[in-house]
């Protein structure tokens, strides 16, 4: 890329709805109109919304699996190296590679790395931390999104995006209010 990328003036157009049913109806309508870059904001996770937006492809399980295997291999490898190669210590004539005794630490290493990968992976994939975002400019969003409001945003990187027509579409769905989100 050459030079600073110019961001579009708008992040998208947001509509607020009163309950999950209205939100789901709006998502269905927007999808029927051919919009693909949709995001919904709900005060608690709603399976049906995630289904409608086709969001069930999280990469976190793979991340956690990878990190757990890494943790297990790393701790076991270290225990083996430390006990059998770098500092061989004869304890009661037991074999230097007394692998069953290394398993508890290995197990904890797997959990430790897997757990951190789940949490950090979630933040990374969600683009957090990011203290500010265009949606926070809407007063009702701040007041209701984390409490009892259901919001739908048609984002400006949608190929069919056109602020005026999106606004018309959303206003036809009887929302509480419609706002344009400036970047």
């Amino acid at each position: 890329m050459h030079g600073p990328q110019k961001e579009p003036a708008l992040h998208g157009v947001m509509a607020e709805f009163r309950n999950p049913e209205e939100l789901l109806a709006a998502i269905a309508k927007a999808k029927a109109e051919g919009f693909t870059k949709l995001d919904a904001y709900t005060p608690y996770p709603i399976e049906k919304v995630l289904d409608a937006l086709d969001l069930h492809h999280s990469k976190i399980p793979l991340l956690v699996l990878g990190a757990s295997i890494f943790g297990a291999v790393a701790v076991f490898g270290f225990a083996y190296w430390a006990s059998a190669i770098d500092y061989p210590l004869n304890i009661g004539g037991r074999p230097l590679n007394s692998w069953p005794a290394f398993i508890p630490a290995t197990f904890e290493g797997a959990i430790f790395h897997g757990g951190l990968a789940a949490a950090l992976g979630m933040l990374l994939l969600n683009g957090l931390p990011r203290p500010h975002h265009p949606v926070f400019d809407v007063k009702r969003f701040v007041e209701h999104a984390s409490k009892d409001g259901y919001f739908l945003v048609v984002e400006s990187d949608d190929p069919k995006f056109d602020a005026a027509s999106v606004r018309r579409l959303l206003e036809s769905l009887a929302p509480v209010e419609v706002n344009e989100l400036e970047n």
Partner: protein, 466 residues
Amino acid sequence: MSSTYDDARAADPIAQAPVLAPGHTPGSVTERISEVVTAKLAKTPKWWLLGVAVGFGLLNLFLLAVTNLFMTGIGIWGNNVPVGWGWDIVCFVWWIGIGHAGTLISAILLLLRQSWRNSINRFAEAMTVFAVACAGMYPILHLGRPWLPYWLLPVPGTLNMWPNFRSPLIWDVFAVSTYATISIVFWYVGMLPDLATLRDHAKAKVARFAYGMAALGWRNSSRHWANYEVASLLLAGLSTPLVLSVHSIVSFDFSVGIVPGWHTTVFPPYFVAGAVFAGFAMVLTLVLPLRPLFKLHDFITDRHLQNMAKVMLTTGLIVAYGYVLEIWAAFYSANEFEIFMVLNRFTGPYAVQYWLLILCNILVPQLLWFRQVRSNVWALWVIAMFINVGMWLERFVIIVVSLSRDYVPSNWSMYHGTKWDIAVFAGTIGLFLTLLLLFLRFLPALNMFEMRVLTPEATKAHEEEK
């Protein structure tokens, strides 16, 4: 069989009770829970200030006790040959065990889709984190040279040697540090959406900024929720074997040794059941007074109390089975030292502690068979206190009674905790109380977004899907 069970269940008004009082909406749940945190400082309840005064006072006793310990050495405690592990390890295991109910409630009950846990999981997770903090004090204080705890870790240094990975004590270092880390991570990740709620609803500017930073910019986007739900589920899936492994490894500290009364294979499951038993007792000990103080009857209903009582009864029976099996194993082994250990528990110098333990952990909890007892908050609280004491005595009996009379009678010696042992224990209670009260005042003690899921509005959206 099952129809009798179902009939009994249908006839039980508490089992049929909702987990959230009727009439709540996502908005009302949010307001009700967040108002505790967003209230002005001047409106802090008097009992809270009193509680912090007590907790902080005890915390200062801890400072005093630890200062003396560092300046004088662990000789101020009662530990001495042959009883090298006294109150310090008794209290370490006690605190770690208390922590386990938090993980059980948040992780295992999440995996089992027990939605009644939604109102108590946050609180229980906080209890875990603070109890592990208290537990973590003891091994370090007990080192004798508390400036060298890093020797326990595989840190490359001028010593040019590594910890012994064949030792249960090193397994313990890995287990407890992993447990502390993952508990904090699970707790914090679980709190993110609620921190965002507080960012949006706190009145003071400083509070909005602080919660905003802590919330990391969480904005309830469905894309966030999709990753979040998977991450929570996986954290729960990882925490479940973790909690079982931690107390199993704590029990290895004993069972891998050859001391009579320690060297048995029943220890891991019996320790884990004991931990859950103790932890649920502690949750009840704390929740029962907090429910009226914060007026949380809508969220923590009689059904919650009844379910917790049933878990206590069940795990208590497993623990009782463990006690019986210990006696049986001693005689079955035909090993004179093991048999002596059992008889010494029954009639030796610490018989009082042993029989008190049986009273507290086996006899008293049998009252929980009665529905009238399970639905009486005072009775529940008293039983929970009995169990708290009983579980402390259990660790005392296992550790001290076995060590004080092992093999050679010339090596026997009595052990008594000193006032400094008591001061350190009281001090960790102060640390726990202080942290817990700060948490209750400044962080959401009930999980708001999961409580919103229990409202009719949310369950309706969920049911239509089916």
